[in-house]
Each structure stands twice: as C-alpha cells, then as structure tokens.
C-alpha cells in the first residue's frame, strides 16, 4: 500500500464484506485494477453509496473502491457550455460550480450531496424532468475509463457534436460499471431556466386515465408529468414539502404534478393554459421556490441514503420499478396502488415508468406475489419490472433485472469482450454479467 491509496475501512455489499480502498490518483486506481485482474478478484467502485442496494447480490470476493477522492474539475470552458470532471465529483458540488455561471446539468439527483457523477452515469440517473430534458445518456459527450489492462481509454470527446468512433459513452451509461471504471466525463450543459412552476391536478382513482389523455392532448409542453398516490404525497409533506391538498389525499386519489421550466412568459402562459384545460381536476399552482424541492423530493423518495441505510435493518423503503407503454401506465399504477397497501406509488406518466416504494419490513411472500402480478401486467404492456433497491432477501427472490429479454444475449457478448475476466462489478448486473 502506498500513500496515494489507503484502506479507509470495510464495506458490506450484499453479503460480501470488502476492504474499502480510497485511491487519490488515477495511477493508484489503475494499480488496483491490475491487481484485481491478476488475482482474479473483483473491483467494486463505490460513489456516494446511494444505489448500493441496486442489482443482484455479488459473490466474487475483491475490493471496494471509494471514488470520491477523484473529484477534480478538469476543464470548464464556460462559453462552450461543456465541463470535464472526474467521476468522483458529487452532483451537488458540480451543480454549485455550474450555477455560479448560470448553467446546470438538468438531471434530477436522488441525493445531490452524496451521489457522484460516475455513479449517476453507471445507473443512467434520471427523475421527473426526464420528460423534458432526457436522461444522463443525452448529456455525456466524452468518457474516460480504466480497461481491464488498467489503462485509461477514452471515447467521444469534448465538443458538443462528434461521431468519430463508437459511442462508448452510451454503452457505459447505465452499464452499472461492468465495462470498466469510469474516471472522467465531459458533459453537455444547459442554461439555468428563469422560471419554473408545477400545476397539481387532483383526480380520483377512476379518473387517472382520463387525466392522462387530457394531458397528452394539452397545448403545453411540460418538462415533467408525475403521478403520486396519497401516501407518496404525505411522505413528501412529512419531509416539509408542502402538500397541495391534505383533504384530497385522505380521500385516497391521485395527484398529478405537471412541471414547467422555461422563460417566465412561456411558463406563465403554460400554467394559465393548463389550468383551463384541466379545470375539472381543480388545479393548484406551486410557484416561487418550492418546485426544486418537490422534484428533488420525488426523485429521492424511497432512495435517500438515510432510508437505504435502514433498509438492511428492515426499515426504510425498497423500490420496484415497472415500465409500460405510456398509454398503459395508468393501468399499472392502479394495480400497484391496489396491491401495495402500504406502498408509496409514483409514476412518470408520459415516460411509462412507475415506481412502488415498499417498506423494507413488508413480508417477502407479499413482495414476491406483488412483483409477479405487476410484472405480468407490465410485460403484457410491453414493459418490464426491475427491483431498484431492496434487502438482500428480496434481491435473491425476485429477478432484479426483470424478465430476460432476448437482446440480453448481446449485452453478454459485449461484456465478454470488454471485461472477459469479470473484474468490474461482477454479479450485480444482468445474469451472466
């Protein structure tokens, strides 16, 4: 061990009790890779530990690597609207650097002060505003990563448009770190918007589909359209995010939150227009500061590190994600709300993504039964079911990455080529990866 890399403790990943190493330089990280490959052990990069309960249970012994010391800003050519940073930088630190210049990375973070950019890329992080701004995949212009040879390789570049070479940026985004250790990324930036607002619609369970149709035909162009059941709304209220209508939530219906972000005139026009279009759902408008915390709260629902830490002890929330065609999502949400008696149910209505946050103490048999029912419906609607976080026992009993798709075979072929020895985060992603 040398002074640019020290062991800072141990960490539990599933059942694996791993030494946690903290490299201060890329060279030190590279040595860890080389050693892992030579000894046929595994390397588990760790960022903010906000998603360590995502994925299957790893079994290969090895070393956990704390990436948070590698958090430098390499280059920020402000006028070019790009930034190059090391992967260990937290979203919060990055956001502060950017906002000083009137810029941002328009991705919702589950825990800005903990979550690292590398971890967000590995999981293709997104939140409510993915409808308007896309997911992280749309912002990664260039990437550097350590290969199984311990060498730093790159793909993409630092300019906003570039088609030279294969787009490994896309491949690494959402690959859960199984193709190499991401060390550096160049991101495309957006200007900070002047104005934002959220319009809340209140509808009874039976009206959700009608509301979805109305929103689909709206003249407005929201950046987010989210559905929350009463329990989810109350959970947000408990975190100090004001509840637009406590009375309604007690009657157990749905809240639909429609968000806008643009110049102030466009936001104002859209709020007014939408309020007319959805008048029967008694719209309420949130403006003037609370919107950010609403979006952030919604993103972190069931995901905050506090809750995750409690998960292994049986409290906190575990999250199941069900996907379907957007037009069919109300059906999935309705079923979820019926069967998940104690669950918080939310959904990105126009992206076809639903989430059920269940208390960690929910009995396993109930969870398995729920997952089967939901998965059946999701599959019929072209989607799938993914366990985004959960206690070890759940992750052993529910297919974490859903019902296998034929194209998983291609993912495995790619993995065999890029990480033949199974060094990087083995056992956590798709079966066989």
């Amino acid at each position: 061990m040398s002074n640019d890399c020290t062991q800072t403790g141990r960490i539990l990943l599933g059942d694996l009790d791993l030494p946690l190493m903290r490299p201060l330089t890329i060279a030190a990280l590279s040595r860890l890779v080389v050693e892992a490959v030579q000894t046929q052990t595994a390397l588990y990069p760790i960022g903010g530990q906000t998603r360590s309960t995502l994925g299957r249970i790893p079994e290969k012994p090895g070393t956990a690597v704390d990436m948070t010391a590698l958090d430098a800003v390499i280059d920020h050519p402000v006028a070019d609207m790009t930034i190059t940073v090391q992967a260990g930088i937290t979203f919060g630190k990055l956001a502060r650097i950017l906002s000083e210049k009137g810029q941002r990375l328009p991705i919702d973070s589950i825990d800005p002060e903990k979550e690292t950019i590398g971890g967000m890329i590995a999981t293709n992080a997104s939140g409510p505003r993915r409808l308007g701004h896309g997911t992280l995949r749309d912002y990664v212009l260039g990437i550097k990563y350590l290969t199984d040879g311990g060498d730093e390789a790159k793909a993409g570049g630092r300019v906003v448009k570039n088609v030279a070479g294969y787009d490994l940026c896309k491949l690494h985004t959402g690959a859960l770190g199984t193709l190499g250790v991401i060390t550096e990324v160049t991101l495309k930036l957006r200007p900070l918007n002047e104005a934002r607002a959220i319009v809340f619609l209140r509808c009874f369970s039976t009206n959700l589909e009608a509301a979805a149709d109305t929103l689909h035909n709206s003249q407005t162009r929201p950046v987010s359209v989210d559905v929350l059941n009463a329990r989810a709304m109350i959970a947000l209220a408990n975190r100090g995010i004001s509840n637009p209508d406590p009375l309604h939530t007690e009657r157990m219906g749905w809240i639909v939150a429609v968000g806008f972000e643009e110049n102030s005139l466009a936001v104002q026009w859209q709020v007014d227009t939408l309020c007319q279009e959805v008048a029967i759902w008694k719209p309420l408008v949130m403006e003037g500061g609370q919107e950010e915390s609403f979006w952030q709260g919604l993103t972190s629902l069931g995901h905050s590190s506090r809750e995750l830490n409690n998960l292994e002890q049986g409290s906190g929330y575990a999250t199941i994600k069900a996907t379907a065609r957007a037009s069919e999502l109300s059906m999935v949400l309705t079923l979820a709300n019926e069967i998940a008696k104690t669950g918080l149910v939310t959904g990105h209505l126009q992206n076809g993504v639903a989430r059920i946050h269940l208390p960690g103490e929910t009995p396993l048999e109930n969870v398995v039964e729920m997952a089967e029912k939901l998965s059946g419906l999701a599959l019929k609607r072209g989607g799938n079911l993914i366990l985004e976080s959960g206690p070890v026992a759940w992750r052993r009993s529910i297919p974490v990455w859903g019902t296998p798709r034929p194209d998983h075979e291609i993912s495995r072929r790619i993995h065999r080529e890029m990480d033949p020895k199974g060094t990087f985060n083995p056992g956590r992603f798709l079966p066989g990866i």
Partner: protein, 484 residues
Amino acid sequence: MDKTILGKLREVVGPTGMITNDSELLVYECDGFTIERNKPEVVVFPNDTDQVSRIVKICHEAKVPFLPRGAGTSLAGGCLPVGGGVVISLARMKRIWEIDQRNRFALVDPGLVNVWLTNQIKGAGWHFAPDPSSQGACTIGGNIATNSGGPHTLKYGVTVNHVLGVEMVLPTGEIYTLGGPVEDAPGYDLTGVVVGSEGTFGIACRSYVRLTRNPHGYRTLLGIFESVDDATATISGIIEAGIVPAALELLDSLILRAVEEAFGFGFPLDAGAVLIMEVDGIEAGLDEEALRMEAIAKKCQVREIRRADTEDQRLLLWKCRKQAFGAVGRLAPSLCTQDGVVPRTRLPEMLRTIQEISTRYDIRIANVFHAGDGNIHPILLFDERDPEQVKKVLDASTEILDACLAMGGSVTGEHGIGVEKISFMPKLFSPVDLGMFFRLRNAFNPEGLCSPGKMLPTAGGCNENGHQHGNGLEVMVTGKKASP
C-alpha cells in the same frame, strides 16, 4: 462470385430483386465520397427483415463480405464496397409500420426517406426531429448508421436522441430487437451504441423512432454581417446569454453568392457573412428571445437584421440553407465537403485558419455550417481533372481537420469516419482506445464480413484486402453526384 451463391440469393429476392450486370453495378461502386470506388459483385434488394436475414446468412456461410446501403448520400465512403461482395440495398423497405402518437413513436423501415416520415405526421402536429440537409433523399437506416445531425439538432439533439429501438440483423443473420418503444429496458444501451456504428455491427431493419411535437411558433432572423468574425461573436454571445436557439447556421460570402444565383432569395451580395438565427417553441416568450438575439447581434456590429415574417419566407430561407451544397456546385466542377468540429468559442480562429489555408493553397473554400454546434462544413472548390488541384485539396483538407484536432475538436460531427477519415482515427484515439473499439466490434461482427474496412484502421493503414484508405478527402463531383 460463385454461381451457387448468386443462385441462393436469387432464391431469396427473386430475379427482380438483384443486380449483377456491370453497367448497373456502377451506381453502387461509391456514394457521395467519390474518390474511391469499387464495384460490388451483386446488389440485392430485400423486401423485409426476414429476407435481409436470409441474405446475410448466405454471405456469412460463404464468407463473402456484405454491406448495407440506404440512399448512398454518405459523404465519407460508408457505402464503398471494400473487397467487393454483396451490397444489400434497403431501398425497397420503406414502409411505415406504426404511428403511435399517444406513445410518441413510429415504427419504420430502414429505407424510408427521412422527410417522408415528417410529411406523414406533420398534419397531426408532429415531426421526426433529425433534419439533415439531405433529408429529401437520405434514409432513416442511413441516419441511424451515421447518427446524422442537421440544423435543428442544436436544440433537439442528433439521431441517437430520437431512436428508441432497432431491429437488427447481426452479421450472422440472427435477428434481435434492441431496446423498443418502452423506456428503461434493462441491459446495456444497445440502441445507443448501434446508432453511429456506420453499418459495422449489422443491418438496422425496422426501428422505433421518437416523434416530436411541432413548436407553436418560430422566430427566424437573418443577421447580415460585414465579417465572419462579427457573426461568430454573435453566436458565442447568444449561447452565453443562455438562449437555446433551435438553429444557428452561418453562410459566408462565397456561399451567399451561389445561393443567391440559384434561388434569388435577396441575400446582399456584399455581406461578409449571414447568420440564420431561429428560436422556436411556445409562442409566449418567443418575441422576447428574438429581441435578445437581435440586441446581441447589434452589439456585434450586425449591419442589418431581417425577419422571415411569413411561413413561406421561412421555408424559402431554409430551402436556401439546405440546398446550399447543390447551389455551390455552380461555382466549380468539383467540390470537397469537409466536416469538422471545434469548440464553439474557437470558431473565429478556425474560420481564419480556413481562410489562411485557402489563400496558401490557392483553393477557394466556401463555408456553410451548423455554427451553434461548432460543426464546420468547409467546401473546397476545385477541378477533379487537374491532379495538382486534387493533391492541394487533399492536403488542405488534412490541414483543416488537423487544426480542428489541435483546437480540441473532432474530424467529424455528423458525416462519419467511413473509409475517408480512417487515417485520422489514430490521431484522435490511442491504441488502447482503438483496442476497445475493436473488442466492441468483435461482439457484433467478429469475422469483419459486415462493412469491412470502415471506421477502424487496421495495422499499416490497410484493411484485410490490402485496400488503401482515403486520406482526409471527400469529393463530390458536380454532375456525377445527385444532390437531394
């Protein structure tokens, strides 16, 4: 080619589904990059995915190289049949299988011409966002293979941001659907990595593409500047001010003259540069954004600002822009359209460099490009019949692209590497980077039979067949090149 292979192919596509005679094959010996040519042995025209798969299986078993081809508008030699073999033309596969407005996607064939999709849905208020200048001719399969951009990709993103899934025939003939209309499919982002793979991972058949709502309104301004520098300063100013324009396109004086001659739009012929500035979206707020852009242009000594006030004017303006390549063909017997990228802030410097290279080589260079993205398209004017000029154009192009790299940019923003720019790959990427590209390609195309000699260099700069690669030049010969 072995008669039995031809016989097997005929069984799949029938006698009217293939071309084997020499004169007809001529069309398929190159694409918009005409400096290198090679005749395929046969061109087949499958009707559906199943036929594509059967064709590929035949090639795979016989170890014959094969290559997908859309409309052949590639400017980088992507359609050059290196090593001969079979060209699989997707031209007959042009159905729209499904349009699902509610879920914002369409399922379309690879040979569908880009603009046809938009024409089909525009009445309902939708469009397909990638709008390459060649959109009247190029195919969606070709857009996917090259990850095409266009003027409006500044705001809306390039092709990869609008493709949800692709039905692929792998080089073994296996059929896989990657991704699909439902978001967040578990597994690697296979769609993302297949887009832009230039036909080297297999053949994209049907694809799920994203539909985009039409904006409520546009404000299209034409800034007339004394100098290119003032125009590029305006671009930086607009971006820095936090405006996200739909498009920022620059035309220099040489292009202006050609376009004016062709379309009589009324461009001032003595201007140093014209900048098309467009914002779009919700009506409310558009006037203010347009005024802000105008104020920035004024600060940068704009001589005059005109507005495209009617939809007709706006469309004419865009027609001028999109057909600028065609118009410039009047100025010289041969054209070489380059494609490079620099960080936006380096544009003034880059354009001065191009000017200097033009003077030094005594080669006229016209510029019309996606300025907001820093994506330059210098067009070198010359006469292909004069070998000395050809050499000058080659060297000047190489210098321009090297300058892009020196400024931290790239040698291609949207046209691709193809065969043309393979020699630049080792300048852009280290052996380690390239090694990983090879590994990835092996996962899809281990035998290299599908689109051989494209994208990646091989040791010594030669491919498996000893074929010498291009050297940073693409030549569009006026008259020989059908411009869309």
